[in-house]
């Protein structure tokens, strides 16, 4: 072990120690997310917790394993009073002189990362599950416990998974965990029950007793008095006189003297100051603080919050790679598995060696897939992909094949077509896809990119695929 060497760079400070490079970040602006890949770990100076949360979220929320799996340490003299943040980072040092104490942790993390095999997860849910279980594996974490969290729209955070979602889409976490459990990767235990807004799925609700008729919470309550001698029954207000604070019966003018003897209070009545409706049982409404909808509590969505525990199958899936879920998309009609596509590509390249023909492979990439899929949920996501494949299939020849590289990248072959024409077809196709989205999924902004690579029989098929998808992964 030796002295730590500090290199100041535009993108933060690099600290080298014992053969490891630590990226030291002081400001959010100094973080270039791609730069994280080049370091063994990240140290964040804890001045303002909000910016620390943002930096940690950007790293853990990234989709590249060599970014989201990177160990993160906080530099702080005091312990961090934020359970979610603590769950997302790997440790704390009081100052940079203590870097040496991190080395063992970093090496352990690197060793664990080397155990992992990353398969291309096709569905969004599978991608999220992969991220979650690989993170748990590298952190040697066996359980995923819900943490009551004020910044979460569902009031509970599963930090390693929730970090991938914006506050408004956080409810999707529960669906993904359900899928992971149904796949046998987790077992669960009941923790709590929450209620979500039926409009926006937020759990930030304000519960109020309201008038059953107009839903106003502006009400007043009064005791009902029954005067035994004359049988008059009415609110206490009726019995008050203007002279003293005694109660007199408005029907027989007798003074009320002894509860239980000449009068009693058999019930309470409420009057709405808004619509004057009188009632005895309030309705309970929940006003969503996120979207403003005000509904009866019966209309809320009830969800169970569980503690999750990684199973043997879950651990194994983390190491060997988790590719599909039962909700996956490889059964989408008109596509073939990616492995089959690769084999067919290999034969096409071999064929070109003989024919000197002109064939291409093309890719369509959904640039904002994480955002889109988190908004849609798994069922609609599958519907979207089905529609996309249907449009693509109708615009290519039947001899050409389509496959998924991932849920955001579709790959297809265009054999015996000049590269220029392939580009033109792809351009038209993307335009059609955009029109389809605009007409079918209103309010959903899906951003497409495409790329065409002409096959060169001098290059192996792997090189073609890398060239095609390098910009998209």
């Amino acid at each position: 072990m030796g002295q730590a060497i500090h290199h100041s760079e535009n993108r933060g400070t690099r600290i080298e120690y014992a053969g490891h490079s630590f990226l030291h970040i002081k400001h959010l602006e100094s973080l270039n997310i791609e730069d994280v890949k080049n370091h063994s770990a990240v140290i964040i100076e804890t001045r303002d917790l909000d910016y620390v949360r943002m930096i940690v979220s950007r790293i853990r929320g990234n989709i590249a394993p060599d970014i989201y799996l990177k160990p993160i340490f906080l530099q702080s003299r005091n312990s961090i009073n934020d359970l979610v943040l603590e769950n997302l980072v790997d440790g704390r040092i009081s100052n940079l002189d203590k870097v040496a104490s991190l080395v063992e942790l970093v090496e352990e993390n690197l060793n664990r990362v080397q155990d992992l095999t990353f398969a291309n997860s096709i569905s969004f849910e599978a991608q999220m599950i992969t991220k979650m279980i690989t993170l748990m594996y590298t952190k040697d974490q066996k359980s995923l416990l819900p943490i009551p969290y004020i910044y979460s729209s569902i009031n509970f955070a599963y930090p390693l998974l929730s970090v991938n979602f914006s506050e408004t889409d956080e409810h999707a976490v529960l669906n993904i965990l359900d899928i992971a459990e149904s796949e046998g990767l987790f077992r669960s235990e009941y923790y709590d029950r929450i209620y979500l807004c039926n409009q926006c799925s937020s759990s930030h609700l304000s519960y109020r007793e309201v008038c059953p008729k107009c839903s106003s919470s502006n009400t007043k309550s009064d005791d009902i008095i029954h005067h035994f001698p004359c049988g008059y029954v009415g609110p206490m207000q009726d019995f008050k006189n203007e002279i003293d604070d005694k109660l007199d019966c408005p029907k027989c003018n007798k003074r009320l003297r002894h509860i239980g003897v000449d009068y009693d209070k058999p019930s309470v009545i409420h009057e709405c100051k808004n619509c004057s409706h009188t009632f005895q049982d309030f309705f309970v409404n929940a006003k969503c603080l996120s979207c403003g909808s005000d509904r009866s509590v019966e209309q809320l969505k009830s969800k169970i919050i569980k503690s999750y525990f990684l199973t043997k199958k879950g651990e194994s899936a983390a190491i060997k790679g988790f590719v599909t879920t039962t909700k996956d998309i490889d059964e989408i009609f008109g596509t073939i598995k990616f492995d089959t596509f690769k084999t067919m590509l290999k034969y096409e390249i071999e064929r070109l060696k003989q024919t000197e023909g002109s064939s291409n492979i093309c890719a369509i990439y959904i640039r904002n897939s994480s955002l889109v899929y988190s908004k849609l949920g798994s069922t609609l996501q599958k519907g979207l992909l089905k529609d996309l494949i249907s449009v693509i299939r109708s615009n290519i020849r039947s001899s050409d094949v389509i496959s998924f590289v991932s849920s955001s990248t579709i790959i297809l072959s265009m054999n015996e077509i000049p590269n220029k024409i392939s580009n033109k077809i792809m351009g038209n196709m993307v335009r059609l896809l955009e029109e389809l989205i605009a007409s079918t999924f209103k309010k959903l902004d899906v951003q497409f990119e495409y790329k065409v690579v002409a096959l060169d029989h001098h290059k192996p098929y792997e090189e073609h695929i890398t060239e095609l998808t390098i910009d998209f992964i």
């Binding site: 001698p229 029954v233 409706h277 009632f279 005895q280």
Partner: protein, 437 residues
């Protein structure tokens, strides 16, 4: 033995002169035949004439009602009536008159009435459901509903009754036919008349006493009991008298209170309501003891001022109370005098007189029932069903109900038993007794 009685009776009939007939059957002729057949028959004819002549007036009253379309508050107080509520509100939703608010008061039920009531309120089938955790009695329940009513007219219903689709409309029309009407009673008939002998007999009794009897008293201006099962009131009038006082017998009491305020009380024969009557003699006795005691309590004690000549004296109120008192109380005891005279002075002829009385009453019942059936607006039961049971009416009305009435009157006159009736909670009865209410 029977042959001997028949022979004896035929001999008695053959020797019976008009003078003898009057001497033996003066009670029937003077009181029963005159009042319950002759007067009623004449008045029924007059009501039919009035009905024809006032047809236009009625049409314009109906039009005025629908033009004004006032809010009508329907009050349904009761204890453990939850099981009837859904059927009742459903029948109310079928009414031709739609601008109604339904207020149900649960007077300390100990069954599932609160849950049913809340559910119906939530479903919008009831406008207001109020529950008193502690039972306060029928009057307190009705008064609570009245306190929170917003309608121009108040209709008081019993939860176990059902109503013709136009009953609400028809009970409101009299308010628009003449000025100064403070309350209107509906035409209550028996739903379960086929259940047993006792319900069948009550079916005939209700027809005589309500459908016919109240038509007559209403025409004469002496109608005195708006039934709690179906009665309509002007909201301002009923509120001005402070609603209902402690019962039992609060229906008759509130009617008298309204009359004493100078308002007219009318009967709407075409506002039909069906109720379930007691289905055993034991239950009937309990009910009638309660009703009959209230006659003494309210007519003789609480409202005895109608008999006094004072500033507020009104002749019709006097007649109304007098007719009620005379025919129910005085003649009830007078009958025992008649019985005593017969047993004392005409002992050898008693059986013959008794048989003749039974025959006279039975014949009158048949003629009356068949003849008066012609005046029925509408029937929920066939006339022929009752014909076979009419002979029983003599024993039912003349002996059974008379005995019950006698016991009730004596209990109330000497022991004020109505104040001890558990129909009302003790906490309220104790005050009513003390204040002589």
């Amino acid at each position: 033995m029977i042959d001997k009685i028949i022979d004896n009776y035929l001999r008695f009939l053959s020797t019976l002169t008009p003078a003898d007939f009057l001497e033996f059957f003066w009670f029937f002729l003077i009181f029963e035949f005159f009042r319950y057949f002759l007067v009623e028959f004449i008045v029924l004819i007059l009501t039919e004439v009035k009905k024809v002549t006032s047809r236009k007036q009625r049409a314009s009253a109906s039009a005025e009602l629908f033009f004004e379309n006032p809010l009508v508050s329907i009050l349904i107080p009761g204890k453990n009536e939850g099981k009837h509520l859904y059927k009742l509100v459903n029948s109310l939703s079928e009414q031709t008159y739609k601008n109604i608010e339904i207020i149900v008061v649960d007077d300390g039920s100990d069954d599932d009435t609160p849950a049913i009531g809340r559910m119906l309120e939530k479903a919008g089938l009831i406008d207001v459901f109020l529950r008193n955790e502690v039972r306060g009695g029928k009057a307190s329940g009705a008064n609570l509903a009245l306190r929170y009513s917003k309608g121009k007219y108040i209709i008081h219903l019993d939860a176990d009754c059902s109503y013709d689709f136009d009953a609400i409309e028809n009970i409101l029309i009299p308010f628009y036919m003449e000025l100064g009407v403070g309350g209107v009673g509906g035409n209550v008939n028996v739903r379960n008349y086929k259940h047993s002998l006792v319900t069948t007999l009550q079916g005939v009794e209700y027809y005589n006493a309500i459908t016919i009897g109240r038509k007559v008293t209403s025409y004469l201006g002496i109608y005195r009991v708006i039934s709690g099962a179906f009665g309509a009131f002007r909201a301002d009038v009923i509120k001005s008298i402070g609603g209902w006082d402690i019962g039992p017998g609060l229906d008759g009491d509130i009617t008298v209170k309204i009359r004493k305020k100078g308002y007219k009380i009318r009967f709407a024969a075409d506002a039909h309501c069906l109720t379930s009557v007691p289905n055993t003699f034991k239950k009937l006795v309990k009910q009638r003891l309660r009703w009959d005691k209230s006659l003494i309590r309210f007519r003789l004690r609480k409202h005895n001022d109608v008999f006094k000549v004072q500033a507020s004296f009104r002749l019709l109120d006097f007649f109304s109370a007098f007719e009620n008192f005379f025919y129910n109380v005085v003649l009830n005891f007078k009958w025992y005098i008649y019985l005593t005279i017969m047993l004392t002075f005409y002992r050898p002829l008693f059986i013959n007189v008794f048989i003749t009385n039974v025959l006279l009453y039975t014949i009158m019942n048949y003629i009356k029932f068949l003849l008066f059936s012609l005046f029925r607006d509408r029937s929920h039961s066939s006339v022929s069903y009752f014909l076979i049971y009419l002979p029983c009416m003599v024993l039912y009305f003349g002996l059974f109900l008379r005995a019950v009435r006698t016991i009730a009157y004596l209990q109330e006159i000497f022991f004020k038993m109505s104040y001890k009736d558990t129909w009302n909670p003790r906490k309220t009865s104790i005050h009513a007794e003390y204040l002589r209410l």
